[in-house]
C-alpha cells in the first residue's frame, strides 16, 4: 500500500487517557462508493454538483430522522458535555484525536442540529457551538463517522445512556441519502441484497464448500459429519456469517457447529437464501435495507419449514437477530399481527427464537448430551474477548449478563486452561476489536490498528502473566480484524480463533472407544 508505513501505537505505560492530538486521524478516510454501488441499493449515486441542493437534502433528511427515531431526538438535546465518555472510545485511546471522543463525534452532528433545529442555535450559533452545514462539515462527518465502530462502549458510561452508535448510524444515513456513501459497506450491501450473502457466494459455490468440508472432517475424525444445505423439513435452520464458509479461522467454528449438531443427533440445515447472518443495513442506519436483508431469513424459514432458528458466531449479526428480528421479520414470539403469527406458529415455542449457537451448545452441555476430551485443548491457554455488540446490545440465556457467562462456561467445559483479561476490559466494559460497524476495510487499516490498542494492552498482560496463546472470539468481524491486526502488535495470527473451534477440538463424536 502507498503512503507511510502503518505502525501500532506504543502501549501506554499507565493506561491513562492520551494527550489530545488534534487532527491525528483526519487523513484516514475510507474510499467513497461510486455511482454504481450507490444506485444498486437505492441510494443517490453521487453528491449533487450544486452544494445548495446537497445542503437542503441533508437537512431535510436529518429532520425526517429526528421525527422517526426517539434516540436521535433525545440524544441531540440531552448531552450536558459532562465529559464522562471522553476517554472511553478505543479509537480515541489509540489515536488521541479529540474528534474520536464520543461526545466530540456526536457534536459533529449536534452542532448542525443546533443550527437548524433549535432556537438557541438559530439565534446565537457561536454561543452554543452551532454551525452551518458546509462541504467541509460533511467531509468531516464522512471521516469521523466512519471511524466509529458503533460498539456502544460510550453509552455504558453516559449518565443518559447517549449511544454514539445511534448518531453514527443517523449521520451515515444522511450521507448515503445525499450520495456520499462508503465503498466497503455499500458494496457489501449490494452483494447481500442481490446474491444473499456478504461475500457474494452463489449457491453452487456454497454447496461445493460444504461438501469439501464434509470430506475434510471425515478425513480428520473418521465420522460422517454432515453440513446440509437447503434441506426442507429440517428442524433447525442455522444462519451464520458467510465468512464462516471460507475465511480462516472462521471455518473452524463452522466445523464445530456441525459437530455439535451431529453429536446431538439434531436435524439441521443451512440455507442459500439465508446464507448470511450479518446485516450491514444496521451499520448505515437504513431501516429499509436492514429490513430487506432480515426478511431473507423469514423467507428461508417459511420455505424450509424449520422449527427453530440458530445463529452462528457473529457480534452485530447477533444484535440484529436477537434485538431486531422479531420487529423486522417476526422471528421471535409474542406477535399479535398476522405477519408475525404466520411464522411464530411454525416455530417451536419451547425454544427462544432465535437461539445463539452458544446458547444451543451450552443447553446440550447442561443436559449432559455432549462429551469432551478436554485434554485435547491442553496446548492452549485461552482468554475470551467479549464482542461489543453481544455484550452491550443483546443477551444470551435467561438473565441479564448471560451473554458474558455462557461463552465462558462453554470454554471451561471444553478446555482446562482459561483466564480472563483485566475486569475493566471485559463484560459490559469490553473494548471493540477495532474493526466493527463498517470499519473492517483495508483502506481503514490505520485506524483499525490504532483502535485495537486497548484490547491488545489487556491481551499482552495475560500473555505475559499467564502464557495465554489463544484469543477466543464469537464474532466474524472480530476474527477477521484480529487475524489481520495482531501481527502489528507482535502476535501470531494463529492465536486467534472461535469458541466453537475449541468445541470442535474437544468434542467426542461417539466413535471413540
Amino acid at each position: 500500500m502507498a503512503g507511510p508505513e502503518i505502525k501500532a501505537p506504543p502501549y501506554r505505560e499507565i493506561p491513562v487517557p492520551p494527550a489530545l492530538q488534534p487532527d491525528a486521524t483526519v487523513g484516514i478516510k475510507s474510499f467513497v462508493a461510486n455511482e454504481k454501488i450507490q444506485e444498486a441499493i437505492g441510494f443517490q449515486g453521487k453528491l449533487a454538483d450544486n452544494w445548495q441542493e446537497t445542503h437542503d437534502k441533508a437537512i431535510g433528511h436529518f429532520g425526517t430522522l429526528l421525527s422517526k427515531y426517539r434516540s436521535l431526538r433525545v440524544y441531540m438535546d440531552a448531552c450536558v458535555h459532562c465529559g464522562s465518555c471522553t476517554d472511553k472510545c478505543h479509537y480515541f485511546l489509540g489515536s488521541g484525536d479529540p474528534k474520536n471522543m464520543p461526545v466530540a463525534r456526536q457534536d459533529l452532528m449536534r452542532s448542525v442540529y443546533r443550527r437548524y433545529f433549535t432556537p438557541a442555535g438559530k439565534l446565537f450559533p457561536s454561543l452554543v457551538g452551532a454551525r452551518d452545514l458546509t462541504q467541509e462539515v460533511l467531509d468531516e462527518w464522512y471521516t469521523y463517522f466512519y471511524q466509529c465502530s458503533e460498539c456502544r462502549r460510550c453509552s455504558v458510561f453516559c449518565p443518559y445512556g447517549i449511544d454514539t452508535a445511534e448518531i453514527t448510524m443517523a449521520a451515515r444515513e444522511v450521507l448515503d441519502h445525499v450520495g456520499y456513501g462508503q465503498k466497503y459497506t455499500n458494496e457489501i450491501l449490494g452483494k447481500v441484497t442481490k446474491i444473499g450473502n456478504n461475500l457474494g457466494l452463489p449457491g453452487p459455490a456454497l454447496l461445493d464448500t460444504l461438501q469439501g468440508l464434509e470430506e475434510d472432517v471425515k478425513d480428520e475424525t473418521g465420522v460422517d459429519v454432515k453440513y446440509p444445505l437447503d434441506v426442507k423439513g429440517a428442524d433447525v435452520l442455522l444462519v451464520t456469517p458467510s465468512a464462516d464458509f471460507f475465511a480462516e479461522p472462521h471455518i473452524e467454528s463452522l466445523i464445530g457447529y456441525g459437530k455439535v449438531f451431529h453429536a446431538a443427533g439434531q436435524s439441521w440445515t443451512l440455507s442459500t437464501l439465508a446464507s448470511e447472518a450479518g446485516n450491514f443495513g444496521m451499520f448505515v442506519g437504513n431501516y429499509d435495507l436492514l429490513r430487506k436483508i432480515a426478511l431473507r431469513i423469514r423467507e428461508a424459514a417459511l420455505e424450509l419449514g424449520v422449527k427453530r432458528i440458530v445463529v452462528g458466531e457473529c457480534g452485530h449479526a447477533w444484535r440484529v437477530a436477537y434485538a431486531f428480528w422479531n420487529t423486522l421479520t417476526g422471528v421471535g414470539a409474542g406477535g399479535k399481527d398476522p405477519f408475525a403469527i404466520e411464522l411464530q406458529n411454525q416455530l417451536d415455542p419451547h425454544f427462544k427464537q432465535p437461539t445463539h449457537i452458544c446458547e444451543y451448545t451450552w443447553d446440550l452441555i447442561q443436559q449432559g448430551r455432549l462429551h469432551f476430551d478436554k485434554e485435547a485443548n491442553d496446548h492452549r491457554v485461552i482468554t475470551f474477548h467479549d464482542s461489543c455488540n453481544v455484550a452491550r446490545a443483546s443477551r444470551m440465556g435467561d438473565y441479564p449478563g448471560g451473554q458474558f457467562d455462557i461463552p465462558r462456561h462453554i470454554i471451561k467445559a471444553v478446555a482446562n486452561k482459561f483466564v480472563d483479561m483485566a475486569p475493566e476490559t471485559i463484560h459490559e466494559k469490553t473494548f471493540c476489536c477495532g474493526g466493527g460497524g463498517g470499519v473492517l476495510s483495508d483502506d481503514l487499516i490505520d485506524i483499525r490498528v490504532k483502535g485495537a490498542l486497548p484490547r491488545m494492552e489487556a491481551f499482552q498482560r495475560v500473555v505475559d502473566e499467564h502464557g495465554v496463546n489463544f484469543l477466543a472470539l464469537i464474532c466474524a468481524i472480530c476474527k477477521a480484524q484480529f487475524t489481520k491486526v495482531v501481527p502489528y502488535y507482535g502476535f501470531k495470527s494463529s492465536m486467534v480463533g472461535g469458541v466453537h473451534q475449541l468445541v470442535s477440538t474437544a468434542i467426542k463424536l461417539g466413535n471413540e472407544q
Partner: protein, 241 residues
C-alpha cells in the same frame, strides 16, 4: 421594580412551562422503532423502573464512568434538590412538614451546590478533554447557577433580606395580586438569574433532566425475543407486502 419582577416571572413561568411541555411532548411523540437498551439491561418493566431510579438518584452510569465528575455532580444536584425543597416555603402556606423538616439541611445544601458547581467548572479549564468539548454556553450555564447560588448564600449569611415580604410577593403573584418586593440588590440579582434560568431551560442542555426518562438505551426492557416491538411507521411497511 415589583411590577417589573412580577411581569418577568409571569413571562418566565409561561416560557418554562410551555417550552418544557412542548419538548416533552416531542420526545414522547417520536417513536423508538427498534429495541436498543444498553445491555445487560433489566428484562421487566419493574426492573427498568429500578434502573431509572438508580440513574436519576445515584447517577449510576456516571459513577462507572468518572468518579470526579460524579462527586461534583452529586454535590451539585443533591444540593440543588434540597435548596429547591427549602424554597418551597416561599410558595406554599401553610408550609408542609417535610419542607419544614428540610430547612436546616438546606442551608448547607447551598454550599454543596456551589462547591459542586465550582468543581465542575474547574474541570472545564483543567482537563484538556473537557476543555475541548466545552462551548461558551456550558460556561455561561455554570456561571448563571453559581451567581444564583452565591447571591442566595449572600442573602442567607451576609446581607439579609426580608424573607416574609418575599413570600408575600410570590404568594401574591400566584393570586394575580402584586405585592411589594423588598428592595435588595442581592435579591434582584438572585431573582433575575432565576428567571433567566427558567427561560433558557427548555432551549438548553438542561433538557437532560426530562431527557433521561426518554432515553431508549435506559428506559427499554430487554425482552425483544418475547415481545414484538413495532413503531407505527414501521408497521405501515408490513401492510405493503
Amino acid at each position: 421594580m415589583s411590577l417589573f419582577f412580577a411581569i418577568l416571572f409571569y413571562v418566565a413561568t409561561a416560557v418554562f412551562v410551555a417550552g418544557l411541555a412542548y419538548k416533552i411532548a416531542s420526545f414522547a411523540r417520536t417513536p423508538a422503532p427498534l429495541s436498543i437498551p444498553t445491555t445487560p439491561a433489566p428484562t421487566t418493566t419493574g426492573g427498568v423502573v429500578l434502573r431509572m431510579f438508580r440513574e436519576v438518584v445515584f447517577f449510576e452510569s456516571l459513577f462507572k464512568g468518572n468518579l470526579w465528575i460524579w462527586i461534583f455532580a452529586a454535590a451539585f444536584h443533591f444540593g440543588l434538590a434540597l435548596v429547591v425543597v427549602r424554597h418551597l416555603r416561599y410558595f406554599i402556606e401553610p408550609v408542609w412538614f417535610w419542607v419544614e423538616f428540610a430547612q436546616p439541611f438546606g442551608m448547607y445544601a447551598g454550599f454543596a451546590m456551589a462547591g459542586g458547581l465550582a468543581g465542575l467548572w474547574a474541570r472545564r479549564f483543567l482537563v484538556d478533554r473537557v476543555r475541548y468539548i466545552s462551548t461558551v454556553s456550558d460556561h455561561l450555564m455554570l456561571a448563571l447557577l453559581l451567581v444564583i447560588g452565591t447571591s442566595g448564600l449572600g442573602m442567607k449569611f451576609l446581607v439579609h433580606t426580608d424573607v416574609v415580604a418575599v413570600k408575600t410577593f410570590f404568594l401574591g403573584l400566584m393570586r394575580f395580586d402584586i405585592q411589594p418586593l423588598p428592595a435588595h440588590p442581592g435579591l434582584y440579582v438572585h431573582l433575575l438569574c432565576v428567571a433567566l434560568l427558567m427561560i433558557v431551560f427548555p432551549f438548553s442542555k438542561l433538557l437532560h433532566a426530562p431527557g433521561i426518562f426518554f432515553s431508549p438505551s435506559r428506559n427499554q426492557a430487554d425482552n425483544p425475543r418475547e415481545t414484538r416491538h413495532l413503531a407505527a411507521w414501521a408497521a405501515k411497511m408490513e401492510a405493503k407486502n
